[in-house]
């Protein structure tokens, strides 16, 4: 008996294509403890590397005595900068055009800086040997405050740059100055302010925080001295770029360098950079001819590998008396630590900070960012955001609130008044970004209705008037726009390599497929979602599509996963590669059906002869024919590669609203409600989108309410374990409500914009907006993060709030 004919709806559902909340393909291995993370890799003869680190933040190395360490049985080598000098590997280039010490060369510049490495039989012996290495230091004055670093008589931090008045991004006017970068039109902005009836200014510090993925950084380097080949498993968000850097540094031809990013236990920007630990493990493996593993511990991770933020910002808005914004000016002092090791596209030392005009139609704007050296660890990465977009969104959203308070306007009303209107897209901002699409008004009204904003305001009013009320109630509102998907190669590159991304798809004779990508998942679920794009484009069930990433020997070159670029760039590459296959498949179908291509229609998983549902060839039929009997003139096989250079960034947006209740007596805050509406354009897997949003909101909650990296005057980092550094547990974490609108990107092949970072970017100012709002009736316009109970309690006392 023939199987019943499936309806088109049934066939479509079986594909589990775009829009399907398909369960994740990667989960089977993770729930059974069979993921393969870097530290799980064990090779025959493998040695362990550990790092001797500086206890002080600034000083000269007088002497290093390796002997006691070398005397420990099982220790194979102790290496210092002097040992790396003959290889010219004691310094390395950073992604920001600066150099960074691999091992401290005569001087240490921050606490926990890498001073020497030991290689031993196992991690315990290596740890013993680290303790046994004797290092003598001469302490030097420490500079922690970037403003003090710019004083004329401030200590010179980077003696290696003596006399260099030109940096990678223009003139340096002080020995601790890295760059000054500007965007927008200063004279236009000045003119807008000169004539404006109302101006407001606010200083704010975005604290130094750390992405702190649950898995720390590490690698296993394995150099084969006979073949001259180097294979390195590495916790990297950008394995192809690392391969290029490693080849440049080591002199090993790129064809003999293989970087493999295995399963990665979260990245959040922390795993973009090339760190001294990786370089040292590779050098050790080359020198010793044996595999060498390096696994960072948590203290090392928080103390040394890529922090984020640390922006000291002065924002200014000019406006009319009825709240129409006329101009924006921003000045930033950016604390980059001891080496400029931000991971930004080359031309943008402050990343995409100039998205700071936000969702608003502002005619004149200017920003200036000054990068400064201090005695802190290097970094400045995008912690779950596109380059410096979190700082930009925080700045503009805070400033709009400050202006609203000055004008006694409602937060929602001032935003309505200044939004870029739907019909203005594509909209070119005063900073030159071309926003692709948006409908901010519709999204805002949806959120205000969903939470009954008027009722919330009425409740707040009533509570403010009730002296017996034990809590202060605050309502935070943020209406943000992100710029993600870096990026067009005409604007964006890393070390000269354009920020395209890539996909290679092969359809096998029996109709299953493999796709290899230049990106690398760190929990985003690429193996699930990328397959869904192919399923919808080519009519092959997701279930039989394998997605592989992270091995530079098999995957096409790509720039990696960060800055919400996987879906906007690699997702587009998939669709384009699939469309090449689709075009060839159509020729084969026409040949098989003996009609012209023009007589065929595509339906879900098959080409049909127009007007005759019985005459069709499915993609599975076509795949087999491609290997068996391709039409004359067409080469056999069914595969395609596409390198996608996006014409523009994408601009996801969202409207977030938060209600916080603050205990007047203790300063404890409780997030009563958090409503997050996101518009990421076309939605590929709603389940995964919601999961990404929950995670991003939770990270945003952590940043706003508790994360910070405080330093004392001597440069000691006062919180570098999970005892001190705030990662919320299930108890503190609020329950999230999610919602969406869909405004596809007009320039993206499937209309998708990227989503995973929006909740981090958007939620942080929402929490601040809510906390400040709780104090707004007392005239408070801004409170710096983190909003810990102690800091809120101090504010309650300062403002004389009585219980």
């Amino acid at each position: 008996m023939n199987a019943p004919v499936k309806t088109p709806e049934e066939r479509k559902a079986e594909l589990q294509g775009m829009g399907d909340s398909r369960l994740r393909k990667e989960d089977a291995r993770f729930i059974q403890g069979k993921g393969q993370y870097c530290d799980d890799i064990k090779l025959p003869g493998m040695l362990h590397m550990d790092i001797v680190r500086s206890p002080i933040a600034h000083g000269r190395i007088k002497k290093i005595n390796k002997d006691p360490a070398m005397a420990i049985p099982g220790v194979h080598a102790v290496l210092t900068a002097d040992d790396l000098k003959p290889l010219n590997l004691h310094w390395m280039p950073t992604l920001a055009g600066d150099v960074a010490a691999v091992l401290a060369d005569e001087k240490v510049h921050f606490q926990m800086q890498e001073v020497a490495i030991v290689i031993a039989d196992d991690r315990y012996i290596a740890a013993d040997a680290v303790e046994a290495v004797e290092v003598e230091y001469e302490e030097l004055p420490v500079v922690i405050d970037p403003y003090k670093a710019l004083e004329p008589n401030a200590p010179v931090l980077r003696e290696d740059l003596a006399g260099k008045t030109e940096g990678a991004h223009g003139a340096r006017d002080h020995h601790n100055h890295i760059f000054t970068w500007e965007a927008g039109d200063k004279s236009a902005a000045d003119a807008a302010f000169a004539n404006a009836p109302v101006t407001v200014s606010q200083h704010m510090h975005y604290p130094r925080v750390h992405p702190c993925p649950l898995e720390t950084c590490g690698c296993v380097a394995s150099f084969d001295p006979i073949k001259g080949e180097l294979t390195t498993w590495m916790t990297s968000q950008a394995p192809h770029v690392v391969r290029t850097v490693v080849s440049m540094l080591s002199g090993v031809p790129e064809s003999k360098v293989r970087i493999i990013s295995p399963d990665i236990g979260g990245g959040f920007g922390n795993k973009v950079g090339v760190y001294p630990g990786y370089v040292c493990a590779i050098v050790s493996s080359i020198v010793l001819g044996r595999p060498v593993k390096w696994s960072e511990d948590r203290v090392e991770n928080i103390s040394t590998t890529a922090f984020a933020r640390d922006y000291h910002m002065d924002g200014h808005l000019a406006a009319t008396e009825d709240g129409k914004i006329l101009g924006l000016k921003v000045d930033v002092i950016a604390d980059h630590g001891a080496f400029d090791a931000c991971a930004d596209p080359t031309k943008f030392p402050a990343g995409l900070f100039h998205i700071c005009s936000g969702s608003y139609d502002i005619a004149a704007a200017h920003c200036s960012v000054k990068g400064v050296y201090t005695n802190k660890a290097p970094g400045g990465v995008a912690y779950r955001c596109s380059f410096r977009v979190t700082e930009a969104v925080y700045l503009i959203e805070r400033m709009v609130d400050v202006l609203a308070q000055k004008l006694n306007m409602d937060k929602a009303e001032i935003r309505r008044k200044n939004f870029i209107r739907k019909e203005q897209f594509p909209y070119t901002s005063a900073f030159g970004f071309e926003y692709d699409s948006g409908d901010y008004h519709t999204a805002l009204e949806k959120v205000l209705d969903a939470v009954d904003y008027k009722a919330l305001r009425a409740e707040q009013e009533q509570k403010r008037n009730d002296p017996t009320c034990p809590t202060l109630m605050g309502i935070g509102l943020v209406t943000f726009t992100e710029v993600v998907g870096a990026g067009p190669t005409k604007m964006c590159d890393i070390l000269g390599v354009g920020m395209f991304d890539s996909c290679e798809i092969r359809i096998h004779p029996t109709g299953s497929a493999i796709a290899r990508m230049g990106t690398i998942t760190q929990g985003q679920g690429h193996q699930t979602t990328y397959a869904q794009i192919i399923a919808s484009e080519l009519g092959i069930p997701s279930e039989v599509i394998q997605v592989e990433e992270g091995d530079t020997s098999t995957a096409p070159y790509g720039l990696g996963t960060y800055g919400s670029r996987s879906t906007p760039v690699a997702g587009a590459a998939i669709a384009m590669a699939a469309r090449k296959i689709h075009a060839k498949a159509k020729k084969i179908a026409a040949h098989l059906l003996e009609v012209s291509e023009g007589d065929l229609d595509w339906e879900i998983d098959r080409f049909k002869v127009r007007g005759n549902d019985e005459q069709f060839k499915t993609m599975a039929d076509i795949a087999f024919a491609a290997y068996q009997q391709p039409p004359e003139g067409l080469e056999p096989g069914l595969e395609a590669v596409h390198y996608y250079d996006p014409p523009n960034f994408t601009y996801p947006f969202g409207i977030y609203l938060c209600v916080v209740d603050i205990d007047k007596g203790t300063g404890e805050s409780s997030i009563r409600r958090f409503y997050a509406l996101d518009d990421c354009g076309t939605r590929i897997n709603p389940m995964i989108i919601d999961g990404q949003i929950h995670g991003g909101l939770t990270e945003g909650f952590a940043v706003a309410m508790g994360q910070q990296m405080p330093f004392d005057e001597q440069g000691n980092l006062l919180g570098n374990t999970l005892m001190d550094y705030f990662l919320p547990t299930a108890v503190e974490t609020p329950t999230w409500e999610t919602d969406h609108t869909v405004t596809p990107s007009p320039h993206h092949p499937i209309g998708a914009k990227g989503v995973a970072e929006s909740p981090h970017v958007g939620s942080i100012p929402t929490f601040t907006s809510a906390v400040v709002d709780a104090f707004a009736h007392l005239g408070v316009t801004h409170i710096d993060m983190p909003h810990t109970s102690y800091r809120i309690w101090k504010k309650l006392k300062e403002e004389g709030v009585q219980l």
Binding site: G33, T721, A730
Partner: protein, 163 residues
């Protein structure tokens, strides 16, 4: 370094191993027994990625010595499925999207496994408190809480089916 013989029941199998007396349980499991499911996230008992089950209690293997397990019953995530059938908590984490990068997952599963024996019918608040020794950086816990609730139902159904 002094070595000791340690005998334990590991995932249902009696084993006898020579270990350094200072070796942490998590390194013993991962490096000596090649059970890499338990992960190291903090070395200070905060993150719970290394959570295993010892004699009916959740234990963080990063701050527990292997020699302390002499004579104990130790279960790791690799021993959770039985006879090729996933445990209810494994099924539920998959179905409710209770994991993303997967690094915290073995610890979360082992804690959930024990927690649901301590409290077979928990409220949301009880789940949140019960899992508060395990950190996740990806999920925001919302789907983990859903997964634990769902696993509780599954386990109860299983119990009433066999009763």
């Amino acid at each position: 370094m002094a070595k000791q013989i340690v005998k334990m029941n590991l995932n249902g199998q009696e084993i006898e191993q020579l270990v350094d007396s200072r070796m942490l349980l998590v390194h013993f499991l991962r490096e000596q027994m090649n059970l890499t499911g338990a992960h190291i996230g903090c070395e200070t008992s905060h993150c719970g990625a290394c959570t295993v089950d010892i004699d009916g209690e959740s234990v963080k293997a990063c701050t527990h010595l292997a020699v302390q397990c002499d004579g104990c019953d130790v279960k790791t995530v690799e021993g959770l499925a039985e006879g090729g059938v996933l445990h209810a908590v494994q099924e539920a984490f998959y179905e409710e999207h209770g994991l993303q990068c997967g690094f915290c997952t073995p610890g979360m599963l082992m804690r959930s496994y024990r927690f649901l024996q301590e409290n077979p019918n928990p409220t949301e608040d009880e789940i949140r408190t019960g899992l508060s020794g395990n950190l996740c950086r990806c999920t925001g816990y919302q789907n983990i809480v859903k997964a634990v609730k769902s696993a509780a139902v599954k386990l109860q159904q299983k119990e009433s089916a066999t009763a």
